[in-house]
């Protein structure tokens, strides 16, 4: 990582001794104190910090829950109720963890759509963006595994449906399914495995988050104009400017989070999951958690099982190709009058898919799912490449500073940069 802003200078003898052996404090300083942040970031940019907070909340509450949880088919349901009833503030830990998962997804969806709207996936941030898609995939796996742990009816049947989906994968499908099951159906061995993996994956997420933040601090942050940083006048120091803004936004997000924990703790779950798992009784509708519903709708839109599985995973994986599917050289949709409308249409289609995912797979719902699924993929495969080729973008501001202070106040945008740097591909901004 290069030198950002004011470098860290160790003062005490001990700090100098340590810094010359492992420049850890300097690394943190350059990443979170003097790191230059575009001055025009809006509040959509605070969700990165909010996501880190949520990851911390989930890991902290999860570790405490694991101290009281018993991952065996006979005891799991009652051990969760033991947490709810007998553990001091166990109800708080468990409702924080269960609703925290939903809040984590609320924040990640805002974060992802922000990246899609402002073109944050485009060069030079492709790797940063793909690391984000990997985090999202790991989050989905973790959330699914976690939802099976209370061992209610929806846990059990959700696990059954998803593991059956994996069996559709050619050649290795059956092996994967047997490995996950640890037997001939979902049962106690499955629950043990899922608990183990549910505890493992969050720490893998932490690892990829470190890479994600590292990549961010190499390329620098995108901003609402999408144009690169051109001078020191375009940026502010991470601390105190971005820090206080992130802390404020995180506090507001906590209000939203607290409302669910304390006043609607079961709204985002399913009543059926308070019925203990029963392999002999299938629930009327097996529905995943809300954050999976769009993908569930895509899965069920296809009459063929393998086809549905391919499309469902494809719907997530296609995100990773956005940097190369989008042909426009303009990053921010603020300056893309046509693409901007397609973007919002895409958001609406995703919400409709979510609604369809909660409906039974019959009649008009299936047809609507098929239309929306087709549009979902068309957005990436047709809209992104074609609109970029034919659209005339609006005029971009001369600099980030100009976008903040208005075009009347022109600044010397080359100041502080080496002569060649302005023409070179933007490695920052």
């Amino acid at each position: 990582m290069s030198a950002h802003g004011t470098a860290y200078v160790p003062k005490s003898g001990l700090a100098k001794w340590f810094e010359s052996r492992l420049p850890l404090v300097g690394l943190v300083h350059s990443s979170f104190v003097s790191f230059p942040v575009p001055r025009n970031l809006n509040y959509f940019w605070t969700f990165g910090a909010i996501l880190i907070m949520m990851l911390g909340v989930q890991i902290a509450t999860g570790i405490w829950l694991a101290m009281h949880y018993d991952p065996s088919a006979n005891a799991a349901f009652n051990s969760v109720e033991h947490i709810m009833r007998d553990v001091n503030y166990g109800w708080l830990l468990r409702y924080m963890h269960a609703n925290g998962a939903s809040m984590f997804f609320v924040a990640v969806y805002i974060h992802i759509f922000r990246g899609l709207y402002y073109g944050s996936y485009k060069a030079p941030r492709e790797v940063l963006y793909i690391l984000g898609v990997i985090i999202y995939l790991l989050m989905m796996a973790t959330a699914f595994l976690g939802y099976t742990l209370p061992w209610g009816q929806m846990s059990y049947w959700g696990a059954t449906v998803i593991t059956n989906i994996l069996a559709a994968i050619p050649i290795v499908g059956d092996t994967i399914q047997s490995l996950l099951w640890g037997g001939y159906s979902v049962g106690s061995p499955t629950l043990n495995r899922f608990f183990s993996l549910h505890y493992l994956l969050p720490f893998m997420i932490v690892g990829v988050v470190v890479l994600h933040v590292w990549a961010l601090h190499v390329t620098g942050q995108n901003n609402p104009t999408g144009i690169p940083i051109k001078s020191g006048k375009d940026v502010v120091a991470f601390t105190p400017y971005a820090t206080i803004k992130d802390v404020f936004a995180a506090a507001v997000f906590m209000i939203f989070f607290a409302y669910w924990i304390f006043y609607q703790p079961n709204y985002l779950g399913h009543a059926d999951n308070y019925v203990p798992a029963n392999p002999g009784v299938t629930p009327k509708h097996i529905v995943p958690e809300w954050y999976f519903l769009p993908f569930y709708a895509i899965l069920r839109a296809v009459p063929d099982k393998l086809g549905g599985v391919i499309l469902m995973f494809g719907a997530v994986l296609i995100l990773a190709f956005a940097p190369w599917l989008d042909t426009s050289r303009v990053r921010s949709s603020n300056y893309r009058p046509i693409y901007r409308q397609f973007f919002w249409l895409f958001v609406i289609v995703c919400i409709i898919l979510g609604w369809l995912g909660a409906k039974p797979p019959e009649g008009g719902y299936v047809i609507a799912s098929q239309i929306c699924t087709a549009y979902y993929f068309a957005h990436f495969l047709l809209v992104m490449p074609l609109v970029g080729l034919f659209e005339t973008p609006n005029r971009l501001p001369g600099s980030i500073l100009e976008s903040v202070t208005g075009p009347g106040k022109q600044v010397d945008s080359g100041s502080g940069m080496p002569v060649g740097a302005a023409a070179a591909p933007p490695s920052k901004g």
Binding site: S2, A3, H4, G5, T6, A7, S34, P36, R39, N78, E81, M84, R85, W91, L92, Y95, S231, G232, K233, V235, V236, A237, P240, Y241, I244, K245, V247, F248, A251, V252, M254, I255, A258, Y259, I261, F262, Y263, Q264, P265, N266, Y267, A271, D272, Y274, V275, K284, W355, L401, T405, K409, V411, S415, G416, M417, P418, A421, A424, S427, K428
Partner: protein, 297 residues
């Protein structure tokens, strides 16, 4: 507050007209929404109601329905029916539980407050065998395990503060207990089944469990009953009791939530002004940064 109520009412009317079509095509009707003391942001259980509900459970429901996750001591804990520790001890002593003694023999002893509520049947199979093949559901979390769909747009309104709604399960149980009626003409009710307006599919194995005057409530000081001894009142009381059994820390949750949210609102307000103050000095020049130091590469 008043406008939100009006807004909620008009949205509800819209929702009802939208869901009317659903009710018409043979599904069970939605349970009526009742007023519960424990609903809403400041909701608290009505202790007298929980005590009456417990009485109904104990005298009627407990003959078939277990409640394994509730312990005697819970009945004396804060936020519950408010029995005294001595009352609970005496109550527990009326029941027998079996345990292994030091010689490895199964012996019976009087229950203690720490014991779980004794089940009416020794195991699930026995419960099923005595009840036409299916064990009566356990009461511990039943009020959270039942719900009904409110449909769009009501499900959005239900999530909101002040107009929110999270007592679907309790309303369903109350409605179910009042939903026994004669089957409409042409409906065959097989032996062992009973017709219930609110039960999914209408044919429920449980016979009408409550009738007027069945449970004798404690009289008030003037010797008159405090509440009517009717099916509606019994079902209301036992539903509230089940809501408590399913969520014994509801009062603590709502009280803590109010303080947490109040704190967070004040904190956010203060942070907002700190943020404003910090950003106020961001002019054309930026503090704490030397432009030449943050060059590419």
């Amino acid at each position: 507050m008043k406008t939100t109520r009006v807004l909620a009412a008009s949205l509800m009317a819209l929702g009802l007209s939208l869901t009317a079509a659903k009710a018409a095509d043979g599904h069970s009707p939605n349970p009526p929404r009742e007023n519960w003391s424990f609903a809403g942001v400041f909701g608290k259980f009505d202790k007298a109601q929980l005590q009456r509900g417990f009485q109904v459970y104990r005298e009627v429901c407990a003959n078939c329905h277990s409640m394994t996750l509730v312990r005697f001591r819970n009945l004396a804990e804060p936020g519950g029916p408010g029995f005294t520790a001595a009352q609970v001890k005496a109550l527990a002593a009326e029941y027998k539980v079996s345990e292994l003694n030091d010689n490895g023999e199964q012996v019976e002893r009087p229950a203690r407050p720490a014991d779980a509520w004794p089940s009416p049947f020794p195991n699930e199979k026995a419960a099923a065998a005595a009840n036409g093949g299916k064990a009566p559901p356990d009461f511990s979390v039943l009020a959270k395990a039942r719900t009904y769909e409110r449909g769009f747009p009501l499900f959005v309104v239900d999530a909101m503060p002040f107009v929110g709604y999270s007592e679907q399960g309790v309303d369903y149980i109350h409605a179910l207990l009042n939903g026994y009626e004669d089957p409409p003409a042409g409906t065959e009710v097989p032996a062992g089944a009973n017709y219930n307006k609110y039960y999914d599919g209408h044919l429920i194995a449980m016979a009408k469990p409550l009738s007027d005057g069945q449970v004798t409530y404690a009289k008030g000081e003037n010797g008159e009953p405090v509440v009517p001894e009717t099916v509606d009142q019994y079902s209301r009381d036992v539903s509230a009791f089940m809501a408590w059994a399913a969520e014994p820390h509801l009062e603590a949750r709502k009280a803590l939530g109010f303080r947490v949210i109040l704190f967070l609102i004040v904190l956010s307000g203060l942070l907002y002004y700190v943020k404003k103050k910090v950003w106020a000095d961001v002019g054309g020049e930026v503090h704490g940064l030397q432009p030449e130091l943050h060059k590419a590469g």
